[in-house]
């Protein structure tokens, strides 16, 4: 293994073990994308092959069929304690991106997760976010508390020096743990290659052409089908993806449909009580 990948892995594994030791009821979110799959893999490595806590998939009902197939196959192969969370009430009422993308995300993702946390009494969740994904994520900490409304006080976070992290306290509803916060997109792909991890075929141009008839296109970030668009790319193998990422200047989440400024403003206005 490349030395620097080994360093990244060591830090991530120690964070996962720290989280398991500190929290009574831990879970790990798994979208089945490359980051969360690598994170579940790290959880397996941290506990010698068996993930000792539930792995949670938030099902919005409108994901790519490849995501469901991948999820069920890997959950079986890796013997995961898989929990699939859905906001059944919103889905029954017909919530979909056509009714407002952000409302749809709030109801089908955020509220589904909030209900699950309450039901299963999770006090900490492992998430596969990375600092290089987006400006706001760059402000995250490895251990990041949330209140019941999922509010994150990003202006009031302790420094995490010398591997000292926030301890459980009464002041928050649950803790978010981010073991691959320090990784980049390129690191994840190199790790996928290094560890020979299974990967969703939607990341590769040859599959997207075969399955969807789209020439020289692939998905760089996986989300719900109506809100995710492919990027122009010929990369058909992990090596080609790595090669492409080494020189690209296009943001990773450019294929997601939400307008970032609009999304930011909506969330901000909501937190200020306007909406």
């Amino acid at each position: 293994m490349e030395n620097y990948l080994l360093d990244l892995e060591r830090k991530s594994i120690s964070l996962i073990r720290e989280a398991k030791a500190q929290f009574r009821n831990l879970g790990c979110l798994w979208s089945t994308g490359k980051d969360s799959t690598a994170t579940v893999w790290l959880c397996r490595k941290a506990f010698f092959g068996k993930v000792p806590f539930p792995v949670i998939h938030i099902d919005t009902g409108c994901k790519f069929p490849e995501i469901y197939e991948f999820r069920d196959r890997i959950a079986k192969e890796w013997d995961l304690d898989l929990i699939v969370a859905r906001n059944g009430e919103a889905l029954e009422k017909g919530m979909s991106p056509e009714k407002g993308k952000l409302d749809c995300c709030t109801q089908l993702k955020t509220e589904a997760l909030r209900d699950l946390i309450k039901e299963k009494e999770f006090d900490a969740l492992i998430l596969a976010i990375r600092r290089d994904e987006h400006g706001i994520r760059a402000k995250e900490r490895y251990f990041s508390p949330r209140d019941e409304e999922f509010h994150w006080r990003y202006k009031d976070q302790p420094a995490e020096m010398w591997d000292l992290y926030v301890k459980p306290s009464e002041d928050f509803s649950h803790m978010r743990v981010h073991p691959i916060l320090h990784w980049t997109e390129l690191d994840v792909w190199k790790y996928v290659k290094q560890e020979k991890l299974p990967i969703n075929p939607l990341y590769f141009a040859d599959y997207v052409k075969k399955a969807y008839g789209l020439e020289n296109m692939r998905y760089r970030s996986l989300g719900c089908k109506p809100c995710t668009v492919p990027i122009a790319s010929k990369a058909a193998t992990i090596d080609e993806v790595v090669e492409e990422l080494a020189i690209t200047k296009i943001p990773e989440r450019s294929g997601r449909a939400q307008d970032k400024e609009k999304a930011y403003m909506m969330q901000k206005l909501r937190s200020l009580g306007y909406m």
Binding site: G100, E261, K262, Y264, M265, K268, L272, G273, M275
Partner: protein, 235 residues
């Protein structure tokens, strides 16, 4: 005394638009230290009471929050008029309509133009009430949300914001020409651009038509000054 409460009036915008009447004799920034978020209702309630009201006002029900007169500085004046003041005399229907249109825009069910039109209409209505009240009360306080409401969807569009600041500058000029009383112009917070949109910033603004000798005052400090003007000892 006259208080012009201007939501999201931003100091750098005032300078850029050369709003001399808004800047008056003394002006500067206010400090929002001690506040986690720049919430409109919280900041105006804190201005009125002289206390940090953040923990007393929940986000979800903040627009219904109302102070009793005795909790504010208003009763120190023999007669007063509070026009559309958040946490006190807010015109709930107007603001609910603006918030509804704001949500409709983000849900893809409304346009910026529809929203802007209602905000401007409400502003004109409130301005008329305000100008009519001048000279008839010992204290008149009016709140205008024009800069905040238009700014949230259009702060990054200079032509639109210039028009907003020109209008507020003209309002300040009309106040100045009709009164020799102490005029305090104050905002709850400033605003910063997020692409075409605008987000609250922590740069609150104040100005007065006489020297108050303030240096980075907190929004909660003004109650004492206002009560001093009314000839009462600070409570």
């Amino acid at each position: 005394m006259i208080i012009l409460g201007l939501d999201a009036l931003d100091f750098s915008m005032i300078e850029r638009c050369r709003c001399r009447n808004l800047m008056q004799t003394e002006c500067g920034q206010t400090s929002l230290s001690g506040f986690q978020l720049e919430r409109t209702v919280v900041l105006w309630a804190s201005f009125l009471t002289g206390k940090n009201m953040e923990s007393a006002i929940p986000v979800k029900t903040q627009w219904e929050f109302k102070l009793k007169p005795e909790e504010t500085f208003f009763p120190v004046f023999k007669t007063y008029e509070a026009i559309d003041v958040p946490a006190f005399s807010l015109k709930e229907k107007q603001h609910a309509e603006e918030r509804r249109l704001l949500k409709a825009y983000f849900d893809g069910e409304g346009t910026v133009e529809e929203y802007d039109a209602v905000v401007w209409k409400n502003h004109e209505e409130n301005k008329k009430v305000f100008l009519d009240a001048l000279g008839r009360f010992d204290m008149v306080m009016a709140y205008f949300d024009l800069a905040d409401a238009i700014g949230h969807l259009s702060f990054g569009i200079p032509e639109k914001m210039d028009k907003v600041y020109k209008e507020l500058e003209e309002t300040a000029q009309e106040v100045k020409s009709s009164s020799n009383e102490l005029v305090l112009v104050i905002s709850d917070h400033g605003m910063k651009p997020v692409g075409r949109y605008g987000d609250h910033s922590r740069n609150g603004f104040y100005s007065a038509n006489r020297k108050l000798g303030l240096n980075l005052p907190r929004i909660t400090d003004f109650r004492q000054i206002i009560e001093g003007v009314a000839g009462n000892e600070p409570s």
